[in-house]
Each structure stands twice: as C-alpha cells, then as structure tokens.
Symmetry: C2
Subunit: 219 residues, 2 copies
C-alpha cells in the first residue's frame, strides 16, 4: 500500500476487530517495521511484549473499564453524554496486545542527541509505534492505542522491569473494515482542526492573527 | 512508494541535502501527512513553523554548533574520537526547518485518553513527525531531526508562545541520495539491536534470559 494511502486510511480501532488473531508472520513484519524506526542516538530504546493469553487480556480489560468509569465521572454532564457511547478499547476482541516500553538506560550515559533534549528518548518510542501502525494498515490489520490504564498495573501484569517505562498498550488484530472518519469525530467528541491553523511561516502566528497564519506574524 | 519500502529506506539525513529548497506543494503534502496522524483525544496538539529565512537558519545552526561542542566535551576520549566525524545537522543545507511544537492546553481540561497517561499528548506529536518522515521518503525528500539545542533558544528564535513546548527541529529538503545504513552505524557510534532481543512473549524476558526471549519467562 502506498505511504500516503496508508496515512489517510489508518484509524485508531476499537470496534472493528474481527475476532481472529493475527498470524505470527504478519505480527513479526509489523514488529520489524516498528524496530526500523529512527531513535535518538540510535538507542532503539523500545521493547515489545506480545500478550495473547486470554486471562491476561481479560484482566487488563477489567482494569481499563475501571479507568474509563473514573474518566466519565470526572466529566461535566454534557461531555459525559457525548463520551458514554465511545468505546475506548478492543483489548479482548483484537486477541493481541503489544505492550511497548521505553528503557532510558539503553545506550549508556552519553546519548547522542539526548544531551540537550532528554524527552527524545521517549519520543523515539512513539516513532516506532507509528511505523507499526502504518505497516498494520497496509496489512489489513487494525491497531488501537489504549491509554486508560495505570502504568503500575501493566508493569505488574506483564513483568516490566523497574527502570523501564510503559509507553503504550496496542490492541492489534484483523479488522472487518476501517472507519473513514475517526471515532472521536463521528461521535462528536472533537473535530479535526484545519491544517492552515497548524502551519505558520517563519514565526509562530498566535491565535489573534489566525487567518494570517501564512504571514510572518509579530508573534 | 510502498509503506514497508518507505519504512526501510527512511534515514535521518544530515549530509545528503542537495541544496535545493523543497517546493511549497510538496511541503504542504508532507505537513498534511503529519496533520493526519492520530492524537490522544483527537487533540491534534501540534503546530508546524516553516522556517526558510537564511538568517534564522544560520543563527540556529550556530547555536547547534555550540551544543555539539558541549556534548563532545562531555564524552570520554574514545567516544569523542568516534563522535567527531559525525555531522549532527543539515540546518542550512536543507534550506527548510520545520519546528514542531506541542500545546498541552489544546482540547481543554478533559482530554479523553490523557486522564491516566499525560505523556500521550507529547507522544502524539511524535506520531505526526513519523508520518511526515515517511511521506517525505516517498517524495524523495530527506528529513533530519535535530535535538542539539536548548528549547528557549528556539522559542525565542521563532516566537513560540509560553505554554507550548518545542518538540523538534526538522531539517527538510531534497536529497541526492539516502544512505542505506544509518550514519550512527556507519560511523561506529552504535549498532542495530537484533529484533529478537526486543520482542517478548506474554511477559518481559529480562536480560538474564536473553536468548530465550520467545519463551514466557519468569520475568
């Protein structure tokens, strides 16, 4: 699949998992795509824990359900009504979780490029995730990033060593289709921002000059 | 270009910029690819500041040179010798900088999915960067992520408002070629880790069971 087509077709999947489990050869192609991402100082600070044990998936899904309730309860009434029909995970229906971790010690004490901006380590892991996501789209595999969890619960559940961070739980599995419009747009949670608002020339055009974003603004 | 081909061909470019400046239609396709990334709660918390003013590029390049020297001086002798020939930026030769920022306030106080894992906001910006990077590869455009800078210098240089974070300076421009082997491997800074070391099953296999990484380890 063409890169641009994959970028546009990619969705954050919750509802469309077919119930089949991804075959191992495909899964390894996706993990190889992830592992081919750039990383600060070439540290490759990621690890991938493939979780397919039904008991583990079920236990994690229960935890996520609790976090979902906590979030719903934190919302004002009108936002809670919008949020209620939105599914936040496909942990069991995808059949496979890929837990992605970050090891800040990988590469030793002198990381080329992390000397000034330490967060580039963490961000490298997200680059790997996006590689996996696009490769999956090309393979007809859906990916849903779950972030309704407490890190310590995942750490305990899959044995992440001290010192490593849990970055993401990805639900990965075959899908019946990909939605054309992101769920959070379809359900009225939040619309897409026009590209023109996000692009500035030479200097950041602050909100009071939006509409002139293509001029070099006074800031 | 096929997704997997782009993932494998993509390089972090410093030396191979041709000196031409990217045309605006291509640049906008890359920014649209970035803007099509997933983001936590559909917040799209990124902005892109396109910098092509020669004076600004030159000023930033001087700052990066200083940070490069600081890093070199922090290294043990043998690592400094390995580091010295490595070019860390193509700020002026690329002709275009894309400064990528993160706005943590985008989407208001109730961010679906950031309730439990706040860093997903930051990570969303990296997903956009990887979209841009792969789209660029498909278009014959090189991208180099520069992180040898102090955030406040970039903030001042391009007028990033208070409250937003500077996430990356990307050098973006036409290239004569893409290296087949990443610079940091070619120059002996750091090799690629085998994929098998990065993949674990059901639970994280700690270092003392490496080689058995495909078994469910005792941790």
């Amino acid at each position: 699949m063409d890169v641009f087509d994959a970028i546009m077709a990619r969705r954050d999947v919750r509802n469309e998992f077919s119930g089949e489990v991804i075959d191992d050869a495909t899964l390894m192609r996706l993990l190889r795509a992830a592992h081919s991402a750039p990383s600060v100082g070439n540290t490759q600070p990621w690890d991938f824990i493939v979780v397919q044990d039904r008991g583990t998936l079920s236990e994690f899904a229960e935890h996520v359900a609790t976090c979902r309730t906590d979030f719903a309860e934190s919302l004002p009434d009108d936002r809670r009504d919008t949020f209620n029909p939105i599914v936040v995970q496909g942990i069991e229906s995808s059949g496979t979780g890929v837990v992605v971790t970050y090891d800040p010690s990988r590469g030793g004490p002198h990381i080329l490029g992390r000397h000034t901006v330490d967060e580039t380590g963490h961000l490298s892991v997200a680059l790997a995730i996006q590689n996996l996501w696009l490769a999956a789209t090309a393979e007809g595999i859906g990916v849903g990033w779950v972030s309704f969890y407490h890190q310590d619960v995942v750490r305990e559940l899959v044995g992440v060593p001290d010192g490593l961070d849990v970055v993401a739980w990805l639900c990965v599995g075959p899908v019946t289709e990909l939605q054309r419009v992101p769920d959070l747009e379809r359900f009225g949670w939040r619309d897409r921002r026009p590209l023109s608002d996000a692009v500035h020339r030479e200097r950041f055009a602050s909100l009071d000059v939006v509409g002139h974003a293509n001029q070099a603004g006074p800031n």
